[in-house]
């Protein structure tokens, strides 16, 4: 049966939409607000014991011996596992690039501080931590590779001895003749940049309850999984189990932002469960474990980049060289973050020629993980600094150089140099909107006055693309062969007329269950409270991925509307039999199925569904009695990557333009954000309140990235920021209350015209703030090239300027 997903609200079988497109109250909230939502740490299972993990104090050290006999004798301790158990019962982690993984517990040597060495299960976490202190480990420290540049050099210590070097990956992608463009251009502006490690830090750390079934040799994991099926496949590979022997149950979880992690946590917990005969083992990562050894760190980058520009400000080419420090192993999928910029390599600009010289290296730091945005935020920072450098050198305004280079609205769909296709957008309109909102001319006048008084006021403009609806093909260059990311749901009506939708993901914060209810309420003409969203585990749900890569809002809308259409057609077929007419004469509107032009010939869809379930004698020949349909959506038109990594990958290209005004204290170098304006366009807004929340949340994380957040390691590979006293998350005092305006340019390719928006403003905010800081410092003739722009760094820079 052909499924035709509506591309606008007008395509829904509703006289008018009452729910979708409005900022309705979320169905998730009553449970969350009353403390009733079951996060994994709330769960207690019969016989459950608690896991604590002993971690390497060295960044690089051979483990000579482990003696856990005293720990095993401590009252309350149930089991202890170490590398021997991992070797016996599991495999090394699968990685991208391939072959850079290790066992969940150290079997030969520790490769980063915090790497798990042994683990204890005990009656409670207090006793488990007591037991850790009784485990004697003898280490032989090895030379530490602490710096990316040193890691890339030949002849140093090797992190994986079976590899010729610490270089995990090296390739140059040429999209057009960059050297020719550089030679031809009137100007080439080059600069180096440094983006320091930062990361997700959801307020809930990772947690799991693992249960090994010794009878049928299977495992069940119940925990805070961003993508249960993805996680489950990885666990099956590590445990050497067939996929149907690993079940994942995803609890509602307290945020993820890509950085929930938990691979090793799952694996260690299930080894402990196996060792103690199948008792459930709960492992709740604590905050220091998360900061030290969780999925907490991303984007440790050294950039050298050039922009080829003509005298009129037209950009001819972008040349980016990236050295990315992925840490000790590739288990955290940090490489994906280096590949994703291909989806929007040249930002919102019509730059036809580009080059990406990419090197990924291993060091003795925590393996890098994903984080919201998945790589483009640092890349955008680089592009936007280069745009400003060019503007300053050419005497153009920051707004003007961007205006001259935007992809024009009539050029869509537009294929960028790195191969992806942007669906639609009105970039100049977004710029104009934000300039108007911010009274840009007024801001510039204020800046001029401030400069006369010796104050460093700066205005930053940043324009970016947010690639939405990720596709595996976007990461082909680092080893992912798939095209398409299926998302499936089942929609049905129960015998008493209530609608349900079965999904393969749990609550994470983006309000997806609310969106499911909005869509179905309008589709079937019922109240939002008449719909139940039913979570299904990895074995029960149709093929699914869940949230990630700004995809789920669009993908689940496609899946739900597809399943709803199939259900509608089935109900119409049933109604046709009941009304003794041809199905072609019937249509459904606001939940009523009727014969067009015959007002009295009407049946409610719920009544039709109930009849299917209760009156098998009335079913038409060949129809099963189940008023439930499943549809699995995947983005249309995606293509496998070519030899230069080019693919139609992310389906949508949302865009945003931010204007921010900052003041840098000339004496203390402290940065204050004075005002912040946003114009963005993610197509149709399915729930405007949720979109607003995604945007503002991204601003907060962007402020953290630009000014506060940084993982600092010393030369011995010791992490110096292992608490929230030193890893600084933004609070209500640091985050600006922004003014926002929405442009709506629906995507021609997506369900209801929506574009992915879940990664929000983190794509733009760090770039905008850094542009503003550099605008503020421009009179001094210095450039902040390191993120975060901490006061310590800015002060040093300002001192250098004064020293001349």
């Amino acid at each position: 049966m052909a499924v035709d997903i509506p591309k606008s609200f007008a395509g829904l079988p509703a006289t008018e939409t009452k729910w979708v497109g409005r900022g309705v109250n979320r169905v998730e909230d009553p449970g969350l607000l009353t403390g009733r939502t079951e996060f994994v740490d709330n769960l207690v299972k019969p016989g459950m014991v608690h896991c604590a993990i002993l971690r390497s104090p060295y960044a690089h050290a051979r483990v000579i011996s482990i003696d856990a006999s005293k720990a095993e004798q401590l009252p309350g301790v149930v089991a202890v596992v170490s590398g021997e158990d991992a070797r016996r019962w599991s495999n090394p982690a699968q990685t991208m690039p391939e072959g850079w993984g290790c066992y969940c517990l150290v079997v030969d040597k520790a490769r980063f501080v915090g790497e798990p060495v042994a683990a204890v299960a005990a009656v409670n976490r207090y006793v488990a931590e007591d037991a850790l202190e009784l485990i004697d480990v003898e280490y032989e420290p090895l030379p530490v590779v602490a710096e990316a540049a040193a890691a890339a050099e030949a002849g140093g210590p090797l992190i994986f001895e079976d590899k010729p070097s610490n270089v995990m990956y090296q390739r140059v992608f040429n999209w057009g003749d960059v050297d020719a463009a550089l030679a031809r251009a009137d100007h080439v502006f080059s600069e180096s940049f440094r983006w320091h490690r930062l990361g997700a830090n959801p307020m809930e750390t990772f947690g799991v309850i693992a249960e090994w079934n010794p009878v049928d040799q299977s495992a069940v994991f119940q925990g805070s999984f961003q993508s249960q099926s993805h996680m489950g496949l990885g666990r099956a590979a590590v445990l050497g189990l067939p996929s149907h022997k690993v079940k994942m149950i995803s609890q509602p979880h307290g945020g993820s932002f890509g950085g929930k992690g938990g691979f090793r946590g799952c694996d260690i917990a299930v080894l402990l469960s196996r060792k103690c005969g199948g008792r459930p083992v709960k492992y709740i990562e604590d905050r220091m474990e998360y900061l030290l050894a969780g999925a907490s760190q991303a984007w440790d980058r050294h950039y050298q980049a050039s922009l080829a520009v003509d005298n009129d400000g037209k950009v001819l080419a972008l040349d980016v060289k990236l050295l990315d420090d992925l840490g000790a192993t590739a288990e955290g999928f940090g490489a994906v973050s280096a590949a994703k910029p291909l989806a929007a390599f040249t930002g919102p600009y019509a730059i036809e020629v580009a080059r990406y010289d990419l090197t990924l290296v291993a060091t003795n730091k925590l393996p890098a993980s994903p984080y919201r945005g998945m790589g483009p935020p640092p890349h955008n920072f680089v592009i936007e600094q280069l745009m400003d450098i060019a503007a300053r050198e050419l005497g153009l305004d920051a707004a003007e150089i961007r205006r001259r280079n935007y992809i024009p609205p009539e050029a869509f769909p537009y294929t960028i140099a790195s191969g992806n296709e942007y669906d639609s957008g009105r970039y100049e309109a977004a710029l104009d909107k934000v300039l108007e909102m911010s009274d840009y001319a007024g801001l510039r006048a204020e800046q001029a006055r401030a400069r006369e008084q010796g104050r460093y006021l700066g205005i930053g403009i940043a324009s970016t693309i947010e690639p939405g609806v990720f596709d595996w093909n976007a990461y082909a260059i680092v080893g992912l062969p798939s095209t398409g990311v299926p998302e499936g749901v089942s929609v049905g009506i129960d015998i008493l007329g209530k609608i349900y939708v079965k999904v393969g993901f749990s609550l994470e914060g983006q309000g997806q269950y609310t969106l499911a209810c909005q869509l179905l309420a309008d589709y079937f003409g019922v109240d939002i409270s008449d719909i139940a969203v039913v979570y299904q585990d990895s074995h029960s749900a149709p093929p699914h991925f869940g949230p990630g890569g700004s995809r789920l809002g669009v993908a689940m809308t496609g899946a739900i509307l597809g399943a709803a259409q199939l259900l509608k057609e089935k109900l119409i077929a049933m109604a046709a039999a009941l009304m003794q007419t041809d199905a072609a004469n019937l249509r459904m509107l606001d939940g009523m199925i009727g014969i067009e032009g015959v007002p009295e010939a009407q049946m409610h869809s719920a009544q039709v569904a109930a009849t299917m379930l209760a009156r098998s004698d009335l079913l038409p020949p060949g129809m099963d009695p189940n008023p439930e349909c499943t549809y699995v959506w995947t983005a249309p038109g995606r293509t496998p990557a070519d030899e230069e990594g080019r693919a139609k990958s992310y389906l949508t290209a949302a865009n945003a333009c931010h204007v921010v005004c900052v003041e840098v204290d000339p004496d203390t170098a402290m940065v204050e954000i004075l005002s912040y304006y946003i114009a963005d366009d993610c197509g149709t807004r399915l729930n405007p309140a949720t979109v607003e929340g995604m945007t503002q949340g991204g601003v907060a994380q962007g402020v953290g990235a630009a000014l506060l957040e940084e993982y600092v390691y010393d030369e011995e590979g010791q992490l110096l920021t292992s608490t929230f006293m030193d890893y600084l998350l933004p609070t209500i005092n640091e985050v600006p209350m922004t003014q926002k305006a929405a442009l709506v340019t629906p995507s021609p390719f997506t369900p209801l015209g929506a574009k992915g928006v879940g990664e929000g403003a983190i794509h733009t905010t760090p770039a905008a703030i850094m542009c503003a800081i550099n605008d503020a410092l421009a009179p001094l003739g210095v450039r902040a090239r390191e993120v975060p722009a901490s006061p310590n760094r800015l002060w040093k820079l300002m001192q250098e300027a004064k020293a001349g």
Binding site: L33, N42, P202, E204, M288, G698, M725, V735
Partner: protein, 161 residues
């Protein structure tokens, strides 16, 4: 001197008595001993504020207290806000203004706001910032929280009239 001690507390109006290890934090006592899992633990070193509860009317970090220190105290947790499923005006305001996303930090915010509005029915932006500066939310970016607090203040003022 002891390593185990009886703790008697009143939580949300209900009296409890448990014999616990003296090293048990108040947060773990509420969650594990009493099964009141609405109070969440985010950092266990007093920075994130997720575990904030009211003790004798004042907001405190339940991860930075031993349960034995709370012996004899009156405690209020997020479970004490709603009345038989009817949301408290502060909770209602957070729902209407989308003052939460993942909701993990929310119980701590609600308790801090409860204390604030109890002593200051019409707080300024600055006063809201001051009372919530120790509560970290990683999702919302605080703007909707700011709106929620103002809306809650208005709702409570309306209820008093």
């Amino acid at each position: 001197m002891t390593m185990q001690q009886v703790v008697k507390v009143t939580v949300n109006g209900v009296s409890y008595e448990r014999n616990v290890e003296v090293r048990l934090t108040l947060a773990d006592f509420l969650r594990v001993e009493l099964g009141l899992t609405g109070t969440h633990v985010g950092c266990e070193h007093g920075v994130c504020g997720a575990c904030t509860v009211l003790m004798n009317g004042r907001s405190v970090r339940s991860c930075l207290m031993l349960a034995v220190q709370a012996d004899g105290a009156e405690i209020m947790t997020v479970e004490g806000l709603a009345d038989d499923g009817r949301l408290h005006p502060i909770q209602q305001a957070f729902m209407e203004e989308h003052g939460l996303q993942c909701g993990f930090c929310t119980p701590g915010f609600l308790m801090a706001v409860y204390e604030l509005l109890g002593s200051n029915p019409d707080p300024s932006d600055e006063e809201i910032r001051e009372s919530l500066g120790g509560q970290i939310c990683r999702c919302t970016g605080y703007q909707s929280i700011m709106r929620s607090v103002k809306s809650a203040a208005a709702k409570l003022a309306g209820a008093r009239v």
